[in-house]
Every structure is written in C-alpha cells, then in structure tokens.
C-alpha cells in the first residue's frame, strides 16, 4: 500500500495543499478528482519527486520515504505519465521505452532492443512499429510508449494525468484495456481525469480534492455524475452537459469542398448554416484537426474551394481567412492557441487591431481598456487584471481568452477544435453557454471533439470522420453514442 499522510505544500503565501491524505492499494485504480487548481497536479508532483513537500509523509509498504528527486521516486517504483509526454521525439519508440537503461552497456543490441520493446508493447494489448521515431507516432501511440517506458523498471504505482484527454473514443477503450493489464500485474494506479463518466466506469475508489484539501474518499459504489459533482463543488449543480436554449437563426451558408487530406482517398467537403453548431466526430488520426486546419488555411490545401453564400473566397493563409470572418480555436491551446507569455489584453486584441488603433497602428488605450474589460466580463474570465499573462490563468480561462479573441475579431464562422479539453467542470458549462450564445446570434460553429457526449449535447448535427473522409451524418433527433462510435470505427 502507498500512503500519503498529511501532505502540505505552499507556494509563497498561497497554500496549494493542506494536510492531504490519500492511500492507494496495489492492483486498484484510484481516481483523483477536483477542479483545476484544486491541487491534483501539485500532489502528484510531490509524490513523483518533482517538487518538495513542506510537511507530511509518503509511506510505501509501511516505510516512510523521502522523494527528493524524480530519480528517487522512480527508484521507489513510482512512475508518472504526464499529459505532455516526456519522450524524445527524434529517437525510436524502442529507444524511448528503454531510455533509462540505454547507458548501461557500451554496445547496443538493436535487434534485441526492438524485440523486447515490441514484446512489452504487445503485453499491453497493442501493436506498434517500435522502430519508428516517436515524432512520427500518433498521440495515442506515444502514450502507449510512455506507459511501456514506465514498465521497464520495477514499478509499483503509475500516475496517469488526464490520459484520455488526448485520445479518441477508440483509443480510450485501448487505454482501459491497458489499465486492466496493469491491474492484473498488481500495479497501483492513480488516475486523474475531468471525465466523470470515465471515472465512474473504471475506478475502484475516488478521492476528491477541493481547494488543496482532500474532502472525501469514496468507494465507487452507488455513485453517479451528480453526486460526484456535488462533492467536487461542495454543492449541487445542474447537468454539465446542457441543452441549447433559444431558436437558432438560419441564414448564410458556409460551404467547403475539394479538400484532400493526407490520410484520405478522396476529397472531402461540408456545408454549415449560420446559427448551426455542426459537430465533427471521429477517432484521433481520422483527419478532424487536419480538416479544420485546411479550411482555415493553417496548412496549405490544393484545389480547396470555400464559399460563403455562394460567394467563393480564398483562404490560403490564416490572415486571409480572418479577414473573411473565419476564426479557429486550435486543438493545442499552449502551442497554437494562446500567446501564453503575453497579457490577456494582447491575446484578445490581436485579431482585430483595426478596432483599437488610429492611423499608423497607434493604440487608443482607453478604448482598448473598455473593450477588453467588457469581453473579459462577458465571458466571465477569472483574472487579476487584463494585463496578467495568459500563462497565469487556469486551462478553462485560457480557453475563454481564445474564444474572446475570436469574438473580438467579429468572426462569423468559428472552427473550434476540442472546445473543453483540460477544462474543469465549472468552466466547461460556461464555455458551452458562450458557444450557444454565438450560435443563437447567427454565427456558424464547426466543433471537433473527442468527447461524444459533449458533441451530442451541443451540436445540431454531427458528421463522423474516418481515414480523411466522412462516413456519415447524424442529426439531433437520431443522436446516440453507439451510432456515432459505429460510424467512426466500422
């Protein structure tokens, strides 16, 4: 058994953790639940030796251990699978898996290395070309490599930090199988996730963190979404997934055709009306993200045709798309969405300098102040001031800033890739409200998401992608998770 006893940690004057208790049994999945900022990451960093605790004890099999570095934690048998993987992109999967053992002998037995790596991956119920460089693997495959890597040492506990967030529905089921394998190997698992459904499905017990305290530990029996949410928030909440209120306006038609995706056999296209929220479902690697990027002009696409109300427009580059009133919320918030080091003000203003500048690009500060403050207010962005760097915000608020920047641009067509990835429950429903408001105002929203439940609750229509093409369309009255999944897999 691995126990965390009365763990405390402060950053400066702020208490991130106060007297948190957690005990994990071998061969069990222990879920860790809490809003962003509740202290989950800090706790896991303490356990994995990335940061030092101020007080409390870590006890493994009855003996107290000091985790003063990630190396000691690893030697004590604690592994962590971060959301952003710690793999070396330019090395092969095999080399990454056995990375910690590589320096042990001068000569490398390549054949043996690949063979052992392949066997290890296979023991997780997965097939993978381990000779491939990691940068050429999909996110799901990288995750498998990361897990295999953790298994190369004598491991007692693996921490998963929101592992399913980066996966599509099919890959998630593979992950669950892998988890079963790990349980069978008598490895303890800490599983961090925002997805309540998932936690209810796979975990044996659940600990809820709130404001840096462990408020409850419960066995996974007779629980449901609402009970978990109540524990997380400390109060009852309405359903996270919401029905869209109001009647959508109908008008301009946005049409795209002739897009050839790298993974597809033939060209694809789609049509969306203003006031509509069109969902795009599909597994990771089915071309959802690539499609949005091609429409927006983030990547070049030959023979692409884009038209608004039968008026053909060119969207060869983001700058042109933006000028035509198209905006894109990218999948990767940190790398492509937010300019994290700069202020909220800079991040929002960037899409529409015309609004806040006089001739020659000089900024009218007062107008900008009022304008940004109004947007921050309207989208309920929690921040110290509009001059705070975006990196200081929680994931949900960062996402709201990115939505704010496209509202600021006046975009009529919004391409949104994973609207709520890494966003906590509270902010999630606020983001849905924003999307509903935009659609009700007659904007066209095209939403890609790996979360089928999310798509079904916010979209009017869902297109399902597989291998770079559309495999079917489902309208609201016929939504079912099974139907969508079948289209995506079969």
């Amino acid at each position: 058994m691995i126990e965390l006893k009365n763990i405390s940690k402060s950053y400066g004057g702020v208490r991130a953790l106060s007297e948190v208790n957690l005990s994990i049994e071998y061969g069990k999945i222990h879920a860790l639940l809490g809003e962003n900022g509740a202290g989950k990451s800090t706790l896991m960093k303490v356990l994995s030796g990335a940061i030092k605790k101020d007080g409390g004890a870590i006890v493994i099999d009855g003996r107290e251990k000091e985790m003063d570095s990630p190396k000691t934690a690893r030697e004590e048998g604690i592994g962590i699978i971060y959301q952003e993987f710690s793999l070396v992109p330019e090395l092969t999967a095999s080399e990454n898996i056995f990375f910690n053992q590589l320096g042990k002998s001068f000569w490398l037995d390549w054949k043996g290395l690949h063979k052992r790596a392949a066997a290890l991956v296979e023991s997780l119920g997965f097939k993978l070309d381990v000779k491939k460089k990691v940068c050429h693997l999909s996110v799901a495959e990288q995750q498998i490599v990361e897990i295999a890597k953790a298994l190369t040492s004598d491991i007692k506990l693996i921490i998963f930090d929101e592992p399913s967030d980066v996966l599509g529905a099919h890959e998630v089921s593979i992950l669950y199988k892998v988890l079963e394998e790990l349980k069978r190997k008598n490895i303890a698992i800490i599983y961090i996730s925002h997805h309540l459904q998932e936690i209810l499905q796979i975990s044996d017990s659940i600990t809820i963190l709130r404001d840096g305290k462990s408020v409850a530990t419960v066995e996974n029996k007779n629980l449901d979404n609402d009970k978990l949410i109540a524990l997380m928030l400390g109060k009852e909440l309405q359903h996270i997934y919401r029905e869209r209120p109001g009647v959508p306006a109908r008008g301009a038609v946005f049409e795209v055709s002739g897009i050839q995706l790298p993974m597809g056999d033939s060209a694809v296209g789609l049509t969306a009306r203003s006031g509509e929220i069109l969902g795009i479902a599909g597994l990771v690697g089915s071309g959802r993200t690539e499609l949005l990027r091609a429409i927006f002009g983030a990547d070049t696409a030959k023979r692409k045709k884009v038209s608004i109300n039968e008026q053909q427009i060119k969207t060869n580059a983001p700058a042109i798309s933006v000028a035509y009133g198209i905006g894109m919320v990218p999948e990767d918030r940190k790398k492509e969405g937010g300019i994290l080091g700069q202020s909220i003000r800079d991040n929002i203003s960037i899409t529409n300098y015309g609004l806040i500048t006089s001739g020659f690009g000089f900024i009218k500060k007062k107008i900008e102040d009022e304008h940004i403050a109004a947007l921050v207010d309207r989208l309920k962005i929690k921040c110290a001031s509009i001059d705070a760097p975006v990196s200081s915000l929680s994931g949900g608020n960062q996402q709201k800033v990115i939505l704010a920047k496209w509202i600021n641009s006046g975009a009529e067509i919004l391409l949104i890739d994973e609207p709520t990835r890494g966003v906590d429950v509270g902010a999630r429903s606020q983001i849905y409200d924003i999307l509903f408001e935009l659609a009700n105002k007659g904007k066209t929203l095209i939403v890609v998401s790996s979360d089928l439940e999310e798509l079904m609750s916010i979209c009017d229509r869902i297109l399902v992608m597989k291998k770079g093409g559309f495999r079917g369309e489902v309208t609201k009255d016929a939504f079912s998770e099974e139907k969508l999944l079948r289209l995506a897999i079969e």
Binding site: A298, K335, D346, I350, F362, A384
Partner: protein, 310 residues
C-alpha cells in the same frame, strides 16, 4: 500563485537600473576623473553607436531571432561611406550608406522570414559576406573621408549647447522606438511573435512581414551607428567592429531580455550599453591592460545576468 509571479516580475525590471546605479557609484568612487564633463561626454560618444546597434538587436531578439552581422555591417558601411564621400555630396553619401545598411538587413530578413532559415545561420553567413565586401571595397586599407563630407565629423564629435550630437541622435532613435514598442501595434506583434509565433500566425497576423522588418531596422540602425563611428575618427576602417555583435547581445541580455524572445525592455537595453561602456571606461582610467579587461568584462556580464535573475 499568479500574484506571487507578477510581483517579482516588476522588481525584475528594476534590477538593471540597480546595476546601473551601482556601477555609477563604484566608478565614481574608484576613479578620480570619472564624473568630469570631459569623461562623461566621451563616455556618451563611445556608447552612442553601440546603443543604436543594441536597440536594433533588441528588436530582433524580441522576435526570437539574432543578428550576428552587425559588426561587419559597421565596418562595411564605414568604408562605403568614405568611398562615396569622394564621389557624391555628403547628404547623398549619407543616405546611400543608410540604404545599403537597410538592404543588408532586408536580405537577412527575407531569408529568415520567407525562406525560413535559422537567423543564426543567415546572419552568420551575412557576417562573413559583409566583412568580405568591406575588405574588397577598401582593398584592406582604411579610407579617410573626402573633403566635401567633413560634415560627418559634426555627427561624431560635435556638440549642440554642450550636448554631443551623437547623444541627441541616440535619444531621438530611442524615443521613436520606445513609442513604437509601447504605443503601436508593431511592439505588440514583435513581442507576441517572440512568445508564440505559430499562435500569432493563426491569429491572422502577417508574421513574415514583421520579422522581415526587424532585420531591416536592425541593420539600418547599425548603418547609422557606423556613420557616427566614422564621424569620430574621420576614417572608414574595414577591420573595425569585430565582436561588436557580442557587445550588443550582452547589452540586451544585461537589460533583462530573454534570448528566446518575447521579453525585453528598450530602456534597460540602453542601460545595459552604458553599464558595458562604464566597465571599459573605468578600466581604462585605472590603466588595466586590455587583455585583463576582456576577462573582467566577461565576469561582470555573467554577474549582471545572475543578478537579473535573483
């Protein structure tokens, strides 16, 4: 947690000011003539060219790039101006020299922004080519400025009401750039590109154009610096300015900028320049040999950057 991060962030900016004031006090204390009018105006005249170059360098560094060609540009433009001064009127020679500087940066900027070659590589190659061009033009020998262009000496050595002309030029350029960085979207875009170029591109901003422009501005300012330097000596010399790019980068870094881009201050960069000049000036006043000077300078640069972080 947010609050804790921003408050030291504010102090951070003042660290360069503190180092600057410390340097002033120390310099005044250990040398007899530091605060004499003669020495101070000499110090400013010395600092003005490197000040101009460092401000240009800051712009490039803010976008996440680097320009190693500035030292060579100083030499080549000095030579070019001296040669032109025999052929055409002073203002024409002056203007053509600045244009040449701009053109060099345009080539670098084009290769970096539009052809996506790493700035380090591009400007390293330019450093070699431009240096070679300077030697080729002058056949390796220094060239004195022609008789019609003695006006250049006013730039380098003249004063208006006791204020060195070069200081006035430095102040004008500083003011223009300060306003552009603080009150114009140009500054916003430059900083944003340094923070996250891809996010800026996906926001619909013409990233390439801005990157192209900063390299042009950098070498334009470097050309102006070259003219100030010719104005001090009256000679265009093909072998000057070796290692100048390092001084400029050092000044920017002492000023607290991040070499990764997205963070830096114009005022602090200028203070960085004066800190570097003071180190040299004081050591000269103390009769320290130039070999030892180089070692001490390096130590002080590292100490200053460490202090920046504390």
């Amino acid at each position: 947690m947010m609050r804790i991060k921003t408050i030291p962030g504010k102090f951070y900016q003042y660290n360069t000011v503190i180092i600057f004031i410390l340097m002033l006090i120390v310099s005044g204390a250990i040398t007899e003539n530091f605060f004499s009018v003669n020495n101070i105006s000499n110090l400013i005249r010395q600092s003005a060219p490197i000040g101009l170059i460092s401000m240009g360098m800051l712009l490039v560094i803010l976008t996440g790039g680097i320009d190693l060609s500035v030292g060579s540009v100083v030499a080549m433009i000095g030579v070019a101006f001296s040669m032109l001064s025999y052929e055409v009127y002073f203002p024409v020679a002056f203007g053509l020299s600045l244009l040449t500087g701009l053109a060099i940066g345009a080539v670098s900027g084009y290769l970096v922004a539009y052809r996506k070659i790493a700035s380090f590589i591009v400007t390293l190659a330019m450093m070699s080519m431009v240096r070679g061009a300077g030697y080729l033009l002058s056949k390796g020998a220094p060239i004195s400025v022609g008789p019609h262009s003695s006006g250049i000496l006013v730039l380098g050595s003249g004063s208006v009401w006791g204020i060195p002309v070069s200081a006035i030029i430095l102040l004008i350029v500083f003011t223009v750039l300060y306003i552009l960085l603080k009150y114009n979207i140009f500054g916003r875009v430059v900083l944003a590109i340094g923070s996250n170029e891809e996010a800026v591109r996906l926001s619909g901003i013409a990233v390439k154009r801005t990157k192209f422009v900063v390299y042009g501005v950098c070498t334009l300012l470097t050309a102006l610096a070259a003219l100030l330097m010719v104005g001090r000596t009256g000679v265009g010399t093909p072998n000057i300015g070796v290692g100048l790019e390092l001084d400029a980068i050092a000044a920017v870094v002492i000023g607290g900028a991040s070499l990764a881009g997205g963070k830096g201050s114009l005022l602090n960069t200028l203070l960085g320049v004066f800190i570097l000049s003071m180190i040299g000036n004081v050591m000269n006043l103390l009769d320290i040999t130039s070999y030892l000077q180089q070692i001490i300078k390096g130590v002080i640069i590292i100490a200053a950057v460490l202090f920046q972080r504390s």
